[in-house]
Symmetry: C2
Subunit: 296 residues, 2 copies
Amino acid sequence: MTVAETITRLRELVEGNLIATLAPPASRFPSPLREAMEYSLMAGGKRVRPVLLLSAGLATGGEESLLLPFACAVEYIHTYSLIHDDLPAMDDDDFRRGKPTSHKVFGEGTAILAGDALLTEAFRAMAQSPLAQADPGRAVRAIADLAQAAGAGGMVGGQQMDLSAAPGNSTASQVDEIELRKTAALLASCARTGAILGGGSPGQVGALGEYGTRLGLLFQVTDDILDETGSFEEMGKGTAKDRARGKWTYPVAHGMPAAIERASELGREALAALSAFGAEADPLRELVRMVQNRRK
Amino acid sequence: MTVAETITRLRELVEGNLIATLAPPASRFPSPLREAMEYSLMAGGKRVRPVLLLSAGLATGGEESLLLPFACAVEYIHTYSLIHDDLPAMDDDDFRRGKPTSHKVFGEGTAILAGDALLTEAFRAMAQSPLAQADPGRAVRAIADLAQAAGAGGMVGGQQMDLSAAPGNSTASQVDEIELRKTAALLASCARTGAILGGGSPGQVGALGEYGTRLGLLFQVTDDILDETGSFEEMGKGTAKDRARGKWTYPVAHGMPAAIERASELGREALAALSAFGAEADPLRELVRMVQNRRK
């Protein structure tokens, strides 16, 4: 199996377990809350975060079946953030991945609740997982790390800075700080959490956290580059919206050539952070290439 | 110290630690997210849930300082649910506890994010607590129980059922199910979680869960009775709004005399669930009386 095939296998593993990992009996979730949760979960994401967590966990000696509920949980956290970000009071987006956003399909109230439920389910899935029974010490460290990355000091804080930023009036360093918080904090935590759950040494946890931060910043810069250059058909959502709103992204703040150079540099730094690892980290190296080469 | 004074002391302990328990350094929370979180946290709630968790934990042998972060966490969960429930897309309330609601002060976007941040902070505070380091097995059980109660099968599910209920068209049993999920599930979990963290036996955890469910239903019925009979000055929010909206509550569905009888019955059942406990459960008994006699 090639490294790319390994990534595909991990993605399909997550894809096939996202619904099953929701609280049993999920049939007790009232309608249309359950439908709204499933709609956004199964809207065709690239599953970068769960594959990253799994790859980091496997590279540090973890067992796939024990890592899987945590991988699904980070996809719940990511999905909740997309649902809430798309709301009229936030980015006000009607489409994501070529499909109408949650509030367009289910209404704002249910979309808010579906996000709330997915965030809560993420923590339930982790705390009720077999790994949390077998090694609760690792589980609480993982839960703490992800919550810190997702909360007011991380992802939600980044969203607030984005919301508050006066159009066209952010400094370049503010843009960098927003991108670090909005995207890189959670991706870094996925890599670090995988290493914690896999039983990695403190040095390995630190190295994979650094790798994850570089990958996260790379992911955001390539997203911003695609927002400037991509078409609706490629992206599945409106493009150049950030610029139209007067929001500063990396390419708007620093120029497109600098953004492309920044992406190369971040890719090199991400790979450098893996220098102490052998072939067991090849899927993590492949993720860098995939993010660099993505077209949507 | 009388039992009532013990409750007051526990409430003040929570009140004094709510902000400090937010992630250090909370100064990294961007403005106005931090202000919105603090505004709703310090808006003068009765702190029933944290006092309940502390009382249950102390009655089963727990140590106050170790229980405290979990007590603050359940108040974060409760506060987030109020902020989101008040949003225009949900109950659309302009006032709560006599003060303008979060979205009226900070705008909808920040109110949504403040709720998201408080929910996430709740799990971070629990997972990073000293008790989670000392006894991670108890901590993951507590986190799992609270997440289950707060999620799509519990509180968020109840809010969805409330949102979906056709005005004036709910059956009495639907009303009971909504009240069970919206309010009683989390209160039951607070009592059960306190017993788990305190080191209670399975029998004690079960008894306190039953007590918490009865107390939670009692809390909701008295809330509905007050909604029918209270004034704005007493309640600090608009009253009879449920009826005006055509939403069925217990007194609307079953009549006021039945609601008052139901409250008495629930109080007796809550006390009966404590029969195996001695004086160490007196604060839990006092909470029943306080909920029965509350005027707001």
